[in-house]
Amino acid sequence: MKNENNNIPHQPSTIEHNSYLDMDLLRFTTAGSVDDGKSTLIGRLLYDSKSIFEDQMEAIELASEKKGDERVNLALLTDGLRAEREQGITIDVAYRYFATPKRKFIIADTPGHIQYTRNMITGASTANLAIILVDARFGIVEQTCRHSFIASMLGIPHIVYCINKMDLVDFSEVTYEKIKNDLEDFSSKLETKDVRFIPISALLGDNVVNRSENMIWYQGSTLLHTLENVHIASDHNHIDCRFPVQSVIRPQSAEFPDYRGFAGRVAGGVFKKGDEILALPSGFTSKIAAIDTMDGELAEAFAPMSVTIRLEDEIDISRGDMIVRPNNKPESTQDIEAMMCWLGNSPMQMNGKYQLKHTSRDAKCVIKNINYKLNINTLHRMEDDKDIKMNDIARITIRTTVPLFVDKYARNRNTGSFVLIDEATNATVAACMVI
């Protein structure tokens, strides 16, 4: 069937030269504990990039004064809930936004204390980059390991270690080099390939937005320059074609009487008009007749685009199914091994049954085995400890009621992730990554 809309799929040329249409989007997470300067760093990034507004500044000046703080407390910018301001801690993930002429940034500001591991994992799940703060006075501490491990486990492609509070160690190159070497040793054990180091003082602004005059021995980029230039185009998987179907578009209108398209967001690979496809779980094959959007047909679609795919043949596909290429299929399985972070308030039930959500597919599952529980500070595996409580990380084996179409999480974060839901409370109780 012919698409009635004649619009070309791309932006009209009159506005194509506008620079904001070339800007891309970097999502990053900051992890850190009380007192390591995380909120100050975010405040500094926002302040020096002129992303704090006058009324916001007035409001936090007033609030700092009320609380009797000596300096304007930039942390008040990020702590949005009454309980957080009262206790001076970050409880939940807060999202912050700023932009430079090059990029738009989304910060997932997460609490760093071990009791908020689940919030850190939430923030990390969608991040391209993690900033991990290290106090120059103390070097690698337990929480550095924990934050690094979480960033690595959640598949964040880029880690930037900010060695902070350099002003308190006299901006010493020797101190920085020592910490950097230790971090290099340690991070070589992680999955993350792109690891960077920057000596900063968040309080004074050295190497955050502006180059430090106190550390002329440092030749690398400032933090903001790094954030603006890190290469993120290849963070998505553009190899393995995966299209989880969200819904079937059937207008049944006079204009489109026989239209049948499959709406979804590309989870991996590049789909092109004319491509041969395979539908899961049915196994039927067809060809892509068109990739539709309201702006017209597209020649190709790639992650993370939301499109509607039409096929040449009428085959049975509905929500929860997946369109892939015949020569590159995900694993179709009911037995899955995964790393899991328990998020629920009540402990995990061994042999318990849970609802499961994976891409657009719903299923139920039973927890068959806990292979080991992980001490996330030492990465020590505890094989005898089967007691899984909130914030615990474990390797588990589950069996699902219907096959899921999964890839390894390290290969594809969209098709390698799923969550478990408590059937009684409907709460999201576990975040899982396929091994």
Partner: protein, 301 residues
């Protein structure tokens, strides 16, 4: 090989379309809140894109305080007529007449807070299990903590300390009978993103967003449009001013800004150089530091 990279607007659009499609798939009876303001206009535009060439599969609803700028209502009615989508009007005036809420008194009286009762009543009456809205996390610090899929108990309350973790692009809309969800497809958009998108997509918006001459007065440093709904003090001088609105809310609590920006390009220029947040002119947020958090817990949008 071509460059497989999306611009930030395209990525935000793809995310919002994904969310709107999830709502249609996961809920039985969703509704899109539509005030005629730019954020809800963008949401409606995204909803059309999400289901094209099919029609938007849910109605729109306006929680109407009755205190509107006439331009907004004219725009709303024309936009709805053009689209063929059903619009439900939930009226605060009716809630007052039925004795569900009492009108605030005094010079700063506003029906803003009363909207919560009207909204919750309308959700119950129409058996909506999900209300989508155009709220953004950059607007206000309590909203910065909000999930895309935000669970509300049977009293419509938000529990900010016990929100469901939201990981990857997996959204859990499961609920008990009587509970509902609020969903915010453009959570990750900033004011600037909205304006850039309106320009790029050539989306029509009400005329009061553009510079015009209006009878105004100044109260607590905020420029207010003179309407029949606001009582002015003798000391408050009413004069013609050249203004535009950055946000459209209830006429009693939405401030204007002095501006000569009469095109989208000029508005974008203005937004990029402005030093005050969008809601800086909203007197409803200024009632206390946690004004928004408190209203949201009760069920405000």
């Amino acid at each position: 090989m071509s460059n497989y990279n999306l611009s930030h607007l395209k990525e935000l659009e793809a995310e919002a379309i994904f969310i709107i499609r999830e709502v249609a798939a996961q809920f039985e009876n969703p509704v899109l809140l539509f005030s005629g303001g730019k954020d809800s206009i963008v949401c409606f535009h995204l909803a059309k894109k999400a289901f094209y060439p099919a029609k938007v599969p849910f109605p729109l609803m306006h929680v109407d305080t009755g205190h509107n700028f006439p331009e907004t209502i004219t725009f709303r009615d024309e936009a709805i007529a053009k689209s063929g989508v059903k619009l439900i009007i939930a009226s605060v005036e009716d809630s007052i007449k039925q004795g569900r809420v009492a009108e605030e008194k005094g010079f700063n009286a506003s029906r803003n807070k009363l909207q919560t009762t009207t909204l919750l009543d309308a959700i119950e009456e129409n058996k909506f299990d999900c209300a989508m809205g155009g709220a953004r996390r950059d607007e206000e610090k309590a909203r910065a903590k909000e999930r895309f899929f935000s669970h509300r108990d049977e009293f419509g309350q938000w529990d900010p300390k016990n929100q469901r973790p939201e990981l990857w692009n997996i959204f859990n809309g499961k609920k008990q009978m009587g509970e509902h969800f609020r969903v915010f497809p453009i959570s990750n958009w900033t004011e600037m993103d909205v304006w850039q998108y309106i320009l790029a997509e050539k989306i029509e918006i009400p005329s009061i967003y553009f510079s015009h001459t209006r009878k105004c007065f100044v109260r607590d440093g905020i420029i207010m449009g003179k309407t029949d709904f606001v009582e002015t003090r003798e000391s408050e001088e009413i004069k013609d001013m050249i203004v535009r609105f950055r946000t459209i809310g209830d006429a009693t609590c939405t401030g204007a800004v002095a501006s000569s920006a009469s095109t989208l390009e000029e508005i974008i220029e203005e937004v990029s150089s402005t030093r005050v947040t969008e809601r800086g002119g909203r007197s409803d947020d200024k009632r206390s530091e946690a004004a928004m958090e408190d209203r949201k817990k009760e069920g405000y949008f």
